[in-house]
Symmetry: C2
Subunit: 213 residues, 2 copies
Amino acid sequence: MAKVRFRISMSLDGFTSGPEQSVDNPLGIGGEGLHEWAIELASWRRPHGLEGGEVNASTAVMEESLAGIGATIMGRNMFGGHPGPWDPVRPWKGWWGANPPFHHPVFVVTHHARPPLALEGGTTFTFVTAGIEEALAQARRAAQGRDVAVAGGASIAQAYLKAGLVDEMEISLAPILLGGGERLFDGVGALPELKLARTVAAPGVTHFKFARR
Amino acid sequence: MAKVRFRISMSLDGFTSGPEQSVDNPLGIGGEGLHEWAIELASWRRPHGLEGGEVNASTAVMEESLAGIGATIMGRNMFGGHPGPWDPVRPWKGWWGANPPFHHPVFVVTHHARPPLALEGGTTFTFVTAGIEEALAQARRAAQGRDVAVAGGASIAQAYLKAGLVDEMEISLAPILLGGGERLFDGVGALPELKLARTVAAPGVTHFKFARR
């Protein structure tokens, strides 16, 4: 069966965003330090429409995390905008502009219903109010046999981990301390179904891949 | 001035011991997985009176963490035994047998006064009830210009971090998930006075060294 995979950047003290997240500062204080290693990579810059960039030991990890994905699931906070019901006049369209980097169906887990949002380049956002299992069922169908990525943030990744629905997890550990924010491994237990598959030490980051035993 | 240093093994989910610590299981459930990389090293086995062992990328890290230390500070839980006042008849003498691996003065931060305990090989345990700053002052004097190591556990390391008294911190990250236990980075903040100095990827562990800016 197709896999449920996620890759997330985490600080050494366990946070996937810094403290005091807001619309103006969605990564929280210091949170941009989680992603510096990625933003420098050619393999991240290309799908985001940016030129140049480096090739290093993270390249294969990044390419692997982007390959073979047929659909993506994310939480409301990652899709962003504002808490509560969607603005009926100027509904939030995500952080990614007119042509988001996904190029496949994306399912947003939210409490607030909304019609699907089709953007350029094959990215369609579908808003699912029936919970994480329904979002996964819809994503699996849309992925047509390819894998489903859980993009984040921390709370939706936690929800899938707690439900035992994750087949592969890649933690990209940034050697920084954020001191607060959203903590990925909070109340998810020891996850005995997942086993370390490999470690990659790269400039500014160490990647730990876990896979179902 | 001589430095205050500590090195501690931590799980990927941030714990320095597993859940359900007890006298019978002082590392908590799964906690032995934090130290497997170390126990295999010749440079750890030698001071613990064990033969054989490996030489790998962790060797230099372990030797550096043991070198130049003139005194060690630890918390009551790491010294171990039982909570509350010391048993007057058979006082706990530590986990390490008649000849502990320290071979220098050790200061145990505790709420319960007790006379010093001198064991073989130059290790003397002094019990300090006046708090972490007094323990550090005594350890600095005893170290006679060499560095002071904070051995652990998590709560005493946290106390020194919160007080801004740590000059060097080495986190030896074991790629395991414990799901619970003592969390090192809980309420210590982002520690802006410490900066990543180097990373060493080794078999079964990645070492992140932070030093005062």
